[in-house]
Amino acid sequence: MTKRSPIVSTWFSLVASVVLHLVAVLLVFVAPSLFQAKTATWGSRAGGHDGVNIKIVSNMAGIALPTPVVTTDDAVVSENKSVHKSEPEPKVKVPEKSDPAAIKLPSKTAPKVQKETTKPAQPTKTASADLPQPQNPSNAVAYGQGGGNPAIRYGQTAPGTDPTGAEFAGDGTFGEKYGSYVESMKRAITDAWRLNGTQQRTPRIYVTFTIDAKGQVSNVALQDPTTNATAMERAAMLAVRTAKLPPLPSDYRGPPVAVRFYFDYAK
């Protein structure tokens, strides 16, 4: 075996070192394109065989989906701009929460309301005799009596009427946070519901629809329609279509609300 001279050995070592260094540097640049990075793109199927397959739920009420966090596994910590840009700091959006107890006054220069230091001139408790009580004169026809049922329903039903029949089910999220809106919606539909006394007892009629931010109703449909829509089914659909729904709560940020609503004629 020919012995190499020390100069040749050193040169050989030098060359080998440079080549290896070059290969290493090359690998640094080329490797990200050679090997697919496991990006955690929200909801995509490209995460590899052990990636998570998630379907975006479009009507999850009240929960704002966080903005996707974009990261790159092979980001190099280097400020050398000629080589590549450093990754920007990923920002996670925190969903806004509005404090329901906050008092929003539209006037920007709202004057301070003077705090009362003296007792008001009027007594705070007023006897009922002082107030104009509603009069029911003898000539008024009492609701539901007289020559015929005028078939107009008001909020003035007799005390003791059954308050139930308004079940609440479903996923519960919307009703728990906005119970007041659900009650207003029920009132609006009941108010528009024409009962002319000719309805018969019938299984519950279910109507589905959606409510947008302005309180507009769309996609009105019977859940289990009969072949020829009965008068009760038509009345139920009409009640939903003509109900004066208020706008959705101002702090609700979700998509239009899906509703299933039943009409119970049993009495």
């Binding site: 379907k55 005028p150 107009i152 008001y154 003035q156 039903t157 079940e167 009132r187 009962l195 119970d264």
Partner: protein, 444 residues
């Protein structure tokens, strides 16, 4: 976490699943008096006006029940911290909602010198605001300003509860001779703030609102000419129909505002011929008689449009010998009688949803007129007024829950309003003779 595909029969993750049943309980509201922010005579007075107006607006709405103040806890209820829900939900009060706050006349800032109110509306079970608290100003420091804020707050509450705007911000046009000649006046739905709109100084009768509530059509006498005229509700020149002939009266706007039906005897052949029903463009051009000449006789008058369809009218005719109410398509076809029970029926007024006719009826054997409702779906009639006076000329409110009418129950003819089931009659006018009310729509 794979979500299963949704079939049509599966409850598709609805966010609300609820319903209603016959006989839902009325919603009860507590309305303690809004507090004046200072011990000042003017603010105290305006607080009283505001509180009275708000109470009456909610009480007369026909939608809610007001908890009696006899059971309210003692105290001032100005801020959310002043409200303990258990005090308002317990037996005796049993309110589901409460509205409260304070009133002031600021001495500085944007609302300086104007009546302002800090307004709260809270759902008691959750103790959360049903409406975001607001401060509203009425522009001036007058009774009108206090009423204006109260009317709008009542309207906001009713709308939030699901009842639509109610009637608190609506108006009533009518005929009054309180200043001498009969002119068309306008007042708030509760009788406040009346002012004359017309000034013909002759006779102005039978007012009717345009569907957008911006104009009033009426019958105006100018000397020997009687014509349909149109005047803006805010005041301004009164514009008559072109080329008037004969007697022209009882105008009524179509629901789309493009046409006006009215009664006219312009085509009469003899002095025995009465008026007939005509339809014209809203500027009086392109007049068409609804029924062909040979088959009509006697008096046809008081046309009203079906507000739900805009394609048919009801009117009064004595073609059968007595005054009765008929309906007809707007092309003159399909004439048929509606009220079929004898007596004299007149003054039809169609409910906003198209399902009812209110009218005045003097039944056989009676000497007086009363207000009745005719259900166009079932054919049934029901009586709304019942006393020894004449009650006539009913007009529906835009929410379909109230009716105004004229009555001589207090002596001279006056305007009254009531719920559409006959309850809670309210006297709206007091001076002079007042009649022929017409309830506005929603004024923008």
């Amino acid at each position: 976490m794979l979500l299963a595909p949704m079939g049509a029969a599966v409850l598709r993750g609805q966010q609300i699943d609820t319903g209603t049943t016959v006989g839902m309980k009325a919603v009860k509201i507590a309305v303690p008096e809004f507090r004046p922010s200072a011990a000042d005579a003017k603010i105290n007075h305006l607080a009283e006006v505001f509180n009275q107006t708000l109470w009456n607006d909610l009480d007369f709405s026909g939608n809610v029940v007001l908890a009696s103040r006899s059971y309210y806890p003692l105290g001032n209820f100005v801020n959310p911290a002043d409200i303990r829900p258990e005090d308002w939900t317990r037996t005796g009060v049993e309110a589901a909602y409460i509205t409260y706050g304070s009133v002031a006349i600021p001495t500085s800032g944007q609302m300086r010198g104007a009546f302002t109110a800090d307004l709260h509306f809270t759902e008691l079970k959750s103790n959360r605001p049903a409406l975001q608290p607001v401060r509203w100003g009425g522009g001036l420091d007058t009774d009108d300003a206090a009423r204006f804020v109260a009317h709008n707050w009542a309207s906001a509450i009713l709308e939030n509860l699901g009842f639509g705007k109610g009637v608190a911000t609506t108006k009533i046009a009518y005929v009054s001779d309180r200043a001498g000649a009969k002119e068309v006046y306008i007042m708030d739905y509760d009788g406040y703030g009346p002012f004359p709109l017309t000034s013909l100084r002759d006779l102005s009768l039978t007012p009717a609102w345009s569907p957008d509530s911006e104009h009033i059509a009426y019958m105006g006498y100018r000397g020997s000419v009687t014509n349909i005229e149109i005047i803006p509700r805010r005041g301004g020149p009164s514009v008559p129909f072109p080329s008037p002939v004969g007697l022209n009266t009882t105008p009524a706007w179509s629901p789309d505002g493009k046409r006006i039906a009215f009664a006219s005897n312009r085509d009469r052949h003899s002095s025995g011929d009465g008026p007939e029903i005509y339809v014209a463009n809203s500027n009086g051009t392109n007049m068409i008689r609804l029924l062909p000449r040979p088959t009509s006789r006697g008096i046809d008058t008081s046309p009203v449009w079906n507000p739900a369809t805009g394609r048919e009218l009801a009117f009064v005719s004595d073609r059968s010998g007595t005054q009765q109410i008929y309906r007809i398509n707007d092309d003159g076809t399909n004439l048929r009688r509606i009220i079929d029970d004898g007596g004299d029926a007149e003054n039809p007024s169609w409910s906003p949803d198209g399902n009812f006719l209110a009218f005045a009826w003097k039944r056989s054997g009676n000497s007086r007129f009363d207000i009745y409702l005719h259900d166009l779906v079932t054919g049934r009639n029901s009586q709304l007024t019942r006393d020894t006076s004449d009650n006539e000329k009913p007009t529906w409110s835009p929410d379909g829950k109230h009716i105004a009418f004229e009555s001589n129950r207090t002596g001279a003819l006056q305007i009254f309003s009531m719920l559409a089931d006959g309850n809670k009659p309210q006297q709206l006018t007091r001076s002079g003779i007042n009649k022929a009310p017409a309830w506005s729509g929603y004024i923008k």
